[in-house]
Symmetry: C2
Subunit: 215 residues, 2 copies
DNA sequence: CTTTTCATGTGCAAAAATTCACAATGTCTT
DNA sequence: AAGACATTGTGAATTTTTGCACATGAAAAG
């Protein structure tokens, strides 16, 4: 299907970037876009855009550019966001709630099918989306029942690895971890860690560096 | 101060990773750690750890390893998390609230000094941390007054770039953007974008790929 | 005091990712 | 129908990042 076996990881990340402005253009914008313009909208190099897309086929027309509708469709197919993907969340605090209610998740086919929390106070509560908060003990049973594919961890830091293990044991194949630890998975299971503070520390480093080189 | 002028960007990211297990070890664990063990805890290669650290000095003792306390201290100094860093947040929804109340931010010296929202309903409300939600029109005035260094954007997608411009105009030097767009900055200003759905799409791609190669 | 042990720090090689530069190839104009 | 023009797709060059392999140096043991 694809030209090479191994697609670079950064390419996958950028495909998701590319889809954002394409969605806007689809609603209001010219029906065709050049690699130069798309690159500019995403803050990357035009050749990068072309090379990234070329891994998966020849989607463009020389001298013209890429058809916005077609390209978006292709990217969604590649990233498998054209199908519904059942998720569950563990940890229904502020962060968890904001994810469950997040528009962008639903819009891309990510549907929360279950919510868990270890706090007995919260268990049994009904969320705005209709889900009932279940105790962590039921992770295994419920995930198998509802064919959950991806587990989202929004617990405090110290519970995260334990929850991760529970989820993998429950047949979940991927983990999105928002607790500030690197959770570890074995074998074919994949975990993505999102850590806001890492990004902040990055900013702080660069700001601080500027100060030093100035003074 | 440092051995080379240009420190690789991935190195900075990893320094933040390294600090996580070090904080745990500081509380309960051996006072010394080898690059091998630290690498293992962070899921990277041991030589990578050594090389990353070596950019900033010789922190280890040959034949022994790194003193946990010293190393953590050095990393915090490098990342400038040893000083308080004044933040503001724009967009006090679920996500915004969860950030303001986030323990890890405070623990690393990131203090929210102002909160803004464009919704008149929210303006004037008092948050649990004591801050009063201000209208976006006051961003310029308040940020200058309180010497805000970094602005966190937790608005819906479409307002993000406008808010970013407001913040930069208000003298903020870095942006942490949590809306699913790439916000653009000019000159010395730096923006970090955090997009959960990008990570999910990454997971989805890999899961889907496994399916295909199986069947 | 010498030897052994162990893990760091680092020059160098390999791998990965990015960018360049241009041939290929489509559309538009006349 | 032919030439001008624009933009893709891609091999080659460059840059960046990672990993190897070993000399180096500190501590512990004999």
């Amino acid at each position: 299907m694809t030209k090479v076996d191994k697609i670079p990881e950064p390419t996958i990340k950028r495909l998701a970037f590319y889809s954002r402005p394409l969605e806007d253009l689809l609603e209001s914008g010219p029906p065709v876009i050049s690699s130069e313009r798309l690159a500019d909208l995403c803050g990357v190099h035009p050749a990068q855009v072309r090379k990234d897309l070329a891994y998966f086929g020849e989607f463009g027309v020389r001298g013209v550019g890429y058809d916005v509708r077609d390209l978006l469709h292709e990217i969604k197919r590649i990233l498998a966001t054209d199908k519904a993907m059942p998720l569950c969340i563990v940890g229904v605090g502020n962060l968890g709630t904001s994810l469950i209610e997040n528009e962008n998740f639903r819009k891309r086919g990510y549907v929360f099918k279950a919510a868990f929390d270890s706090d007995p106070e919260k268990q049994g509560q009904k969320l705005s989306c209709g889900l009932i908060i279940e105790p962590n003990q039921r992770i295994r049973e419920v995930c198998r029942e509802r064919d959950i594919e991806i587990g989202v961890i929004a617990t405090p830091r110290h519970g995260a690895q334990r929850v991760c293990n529970l989820l993998l044991d429950a047949g979940v194949r991927g983990i999105l971890n928002l607790a500030p630890v690197q959770v570890r998975t074995s074998g074919a299971f994949k975990a993505e860690n999102v850590d806001f503070t890492v990004k902040l520390e990055n900013l702080a480093y660069h700001l601080h560096r500027l100060d030093e080189s100035d003074g």
